[in-house]
């Protein structure tokens, strides 16, 4: 008996990833598509022709495309020289700090980013005198298309450059040694090493940035200047909240879904599966090799690229910090700030863990299927994680309401829902971080594990965990910080007597408490930085074996 039980057990265990993946898939589709279908089901018939027959909607659609396309092009185009420069300069004072700031740019709440951008680039901003001196006319570039693009580049260029840098740094150390030994010129390096690495990344990166710009709302509206610059989300917001036009809302959400998912499937079909989130830096690996192209004129151009990035990214953040400092005395008289901070952190932790578990399950399931030749099914399971990226929070929230009513109160139910929805919203990002580590388990190791019959817990502990620890930490950090800054979901379900930090911020704004609001924004920013720093510090723990503490280049390149 005992003998028979073991294989059965093992059989069940080896299928665990599949079941977990399927469960997560059902949950994601249930929540994501379910809420959307609830909206469709409540709505009267869709009039798809409205999209091009209605001039207003056609204009909105055109503009949404146009600004997102332009923002994507600029973020990618400017990101390339920045990434190349950062790769060429593996050490300079403040490089580490700059990289951290670049990783953070994705998760800065839009109200805070808006405040910082206005303080720096506005008509009375820090840069205004400089602009006036340069061009002779007063600065007004923050409003209109240029403002939207500036804001989107502020958000996405650091992200793009950081990921490209990561791809560059992933190239095997031998390649860089060869580059040094052969004394390749700048152009030759670009052609043989840099471009192929970046090229692999571009389709997915472009899809990601385009999606983020396509769905952006508050920034586009406020900096856009007027109704000429409305995005689909604005039309959706109006349809859903002011007009209660469920049919139009569903139609707009569907349009967004189709466009962005179409783009994603194009990008995924382009092949290449680089990780889209900054992971581990291996900069130390190629500092040893002196590159010929690092001297002479490139000293100047690299300085320009890196300096430009710093000037784009840091001053708005500094403006938020400065404004917050002036409100610090208010913090002491603000009894709700610390409970709000704690609440935000607890909820972020919940959402973060949820996102990571979901991501692991989806990736595990799709990996299991792929390993058995079911590539398409695996792709579907994995792709479901991206669904959330293109589903407007408002649609998800409203749909959930329709699904869960009649009972959906405030208080704990509300918070539980917020945590749940936040976990789902962070899922795409968590998956991006984890998929490299989980799917790229070297075949050789896998085979050895199969031969030695290592399954279940030992397999996880000795094969997966060492590779997963660090990406897990990063995924958790991203998911937590995204949830920390969330206002859209909490505003639907939250309870005001116990606000989270973003809610408190809006309450303070609504009550004209500018100083407290600035201080709250600073605390929120500090939380984001602290969570990021803490989680990555914890998972950066030195390896178990002392002799591995300083990896040799040959060792780490695997």
């Amino acid at each position: 008996m005992a003998q028979r039980q073991q294989p059965l057990n093992r059989y069940a265990l080896s299928r665990l990833p599949l079941w977990a993946g399927l469960a997560a898939f059902v949950a994601v589709i249930g929540l994501g598509l379910g809420s959307f279908i609830a909206l469709l089901w409540q709505a009267p018939a869709l009039q798809v022709a409205m999209l091009w027959q209605e001039p207003y909607l056609a204009g909105v659609l055109r503009f949404t495309f146009w600004q997102a396309g332009l923002s994507t092009l600029l973020a990618l185009g400017l990101g390339i020289p920045v990434a190349l420069a950062l790769a060429r300069r593996p050490r300079f004072p403040g490089r580490g700090l700059l990289l951290r700031a670049m990783e953070l740019s994705l998760v800065i709440p839009s109200l805070i980013a808006l405040f910082g951008l206005v303080a720096v680039h506005g008509r009375r901003g820090w840069a205004a005198p400089l602009w006036e001196w340069l061009t002779g006319s007063p600065s007004g570039y923050l409003y209109g298309l240029s403002g939207i693009v500036l804001a989107h580049v502020f958000y996405n260029l650091p992200l793009a450059a950081r990921l490209m840098l990561q791809e560059l740094e992933r190239s095997p150390a031998v390649h860089w040694r060869l580059v040094a030994q052969l004394g390749l010129s700048r152009f030759a390096i670009w052609r043989t090493l840099e471009w192929p690495a970046i090229r692999r990344l571009l389709p997915r990166l472009a899809a990601l940035i385009f999606t983020l710009c396509f769905t952006s709302f508050a920034i586009v509206m406020t900096l856009g200047g007027g109704p000429n610059s409305s995005t689909l989300e604005v039309a959706l917001y109006q349809a859903l909240k002011f007009d209660n036009d469920l049919a139009l809302a569903a139609l707009l959400a569907l349009t967004q879904l189709v466009i962005c998912l179409g783009l994603w499937s194009l990008a995924i079909a382009q092949g290449g599966a680089p990780s889209l989130i900054a992971g581990d830096s291996q900069a130390a690996l190629f500092t040893k090799w002196r590159r010929r192209d690092a001297q002479g004129i490139s000293w100047l151009t690299d300085g320009l690229s890196i300096g430009g990035l710093a000037l784009l990214l840091l001053p708005p953040l500094a403006a938020v910090v400065l404004a917050g400092l002036s409100g610090l005395p208010d913090i002491l008289t603000q009894p709700r700030l610390w409970p709000a901070t704690l609440r935000s952190l607890v909820m972020a932790l919940g959402a973060g863990i949820g996102a990571v578990l979901l991501a692991l399950a989806l990736l595990g399931g799709s990996g299991w299927l792929r390993a058995r030749g079911r590539r398409f099914l695996g792709g579907v399971i994995e792709g479901s994680g991206q669904l959330i990226l293109v589903l407007p929070a408002l649609v998800m929230g409203t749909g959930l309401f329709l699904l869960l009513r009649p009972r959906l109160g405030g208080g704990f139910e509300g918070y539980a829902l917020v945590v749940l929805v936040n976990a789902f919203m962070a899922l795409p990002f968590a998956m991006q971080v984890l998929r490299g580590a989980l799917l790229e388990l070297p075949l050789a190791q896998r085979r050895v594990a199969e031969q030695l019959d290592i399954h279940g817990w030992p397999r996880f502990r000795w094969l997966l965990w060492p590779r997963l620890r660090r990406p897990l930490g990063l995924a958790l950090a991203y998911a937590m910080t995204l949830s920390l800054g969330d206002f859209s979901v909490i505003a639907l379900f939250g309870s005001p007597a116990a606000p989270t930090l973003p809610m408190l911020l809006y309450q303070e704004l609504g009550g004209y408490r500018w100083q407290s609001a600035a201080a709250t924004a600073l605390v929120l920013l500090i939380c984001v930085v602290a969570v990021f720093g803490l989680v990555s510090a914890l998972t950066r723990r030195s390896p178990r074996y002392l002799w591995k503490r300083r990896p040799e280049p040959a060792h780490a390149s695997m």
Partner: protein, 340 residues
């Protein structure tokens, strides 16, 4: 830190009872659930003090606030929940949302005595009870703009370098207020008026917070669309006369915020008691500086001194039904006038 305790209790309770069954235990004593907006229930807002005063008055009841983002969200929530709504009272629907809320057929008459009311317009609505009011107005920075326009016409004809920040009528309540204001003043010529105004518009913010905090407080433009009562806050709490509202000869669009009882109210008697309470001084004295609006009754000497220094323009409104009927068309008109 009572907040943490309350939260962790709710957490424990919620876990104990399961996600969707927790509501039942609260119904033991008399509970009043009020949907409102978030700045109403902030620590410094009127909410906490109103709760305290009413609970003292009724003896054994509990007031629970559930705050949403604004009047529009309250309406939307009510619409989604229908007859199963948890709300006994909705507090925060303004006049422009009244007709749509009424059409849901979820509200019942308030039966409160309207005689104490002190509004700039007559009020005899049976369902909606006003609790505060104010005018939409352009607030200006007197250091940047010592001589603000004294009429809407003057604003429209001012030199183009006079910039204002407004909010979008598709997403914000003051934005809709401005739309109605201009429509009321200019009627069929509202489109042309918009085109003239647009020369002065620096940008159209998505909401009041973005307009006032991110833009106006950063000094981006000397004027911002807000409320005639906004300066009261600056004068009373920040001790500065720098920010004032520009008084326009033609008059200002009026905003009246109201409360109403829902059909679903578990304890209609208690809900009515609260409606009566709204028009007492115990409620109203928290409005001027808590909600930064005018109280709905005459507070006499209790009205903070700064309110005497606010502008006192003529006020006017469309009827809620007119707004409901025409809102989409008027927004369309604004879009057409502003998209070229």
């Amino acid at each position: 830190m009572p907040c943490i305790n309350r939260f962790s209790q709710a957490l424990a309770l919620g876990i104990g009872l399961g996600l969707f069954a927790s509501g039942a235990t609260w119904a033991e004593d008399r509970t009043l659930t009020i949907y409102t907006y978030d700045s109403f229930v902030a620590d410094w807002g009127p909410g906490p003090k109103v709760k305290e005063a009413f609970e003292k008055q009724c003896g054994d009841c509990t007031v629970n606030f559930l705050a949403l983002q604004g009047g529009v969200d309250i309406l939307q929530r009510l619409r989604l929940e229908g007859e199963s709504t948890e709300a006994d009272i909705v507090l925060g629907l303004d006049m422009n949302l009244m007709a749509e809320a009424r059409a849901l057929d979820l509200l019942v008459p308030h039966e409160a005595d309207l005689t104490p009311l002190n509004l700039p317009i007559d009020w005899d609505d049976e369902t909606f009870l006003p609790y505060d009011w104010g005018h939409f107005a352009f607030v200006y920075d007197s250091e940047a703009l010592p001589n603000p326009p004294s009429s809407f016409a003057e604003l429209l004809e001012a030199p183009e370098d006079l910039k204002v920040i407004i909010s979008d009528p598709r997403t914000s309540v003051p934005g809709l207020g401005l739309l109605l204001w201009i429509k009321h003043l200019y009627g069929d010529e509202a489109g042309e008026a918009w085109q003239q105004l647009n020369r002065h518009v620096l940008t159209v913010a998505s909401g009041w917070s973005q307009a006032y905090f991110s833009l106006f407080m950063n000094g981006e433009a000397p004027m911002v669309l807000s409320y005639s009562t906004s300066p009261a806050y600056h004068m009373a709490m920040e001790d500065t006369d720098r920010y004032q509202a520009a008084e326009f000869e033609e008059g200002h669009y009026l905003q009246v915020e109201t409360a109403a009882i829902t059909k679903a109210a578990e304890d209609p008697q208690l809900a009515r008691e609260f409606m009566d309470f709204i028009l007492t001084e115990d409620f109203q004295r928290h409005i001027p500086l808590g909600n930064v609006m005018y109280p709905a009754i005459d507070l006499g000497d209790e009205l903070p001194e700064v309110f005497d220094r606010l502008i006192e323009p003529e006020g006017f409104t469309f009827s809620p039904e007119e707004v409901q009927e025409n809102r989409r068309a008027w927004i369309r008109e604004w879009l057409n006038a502003s998209s070229r």
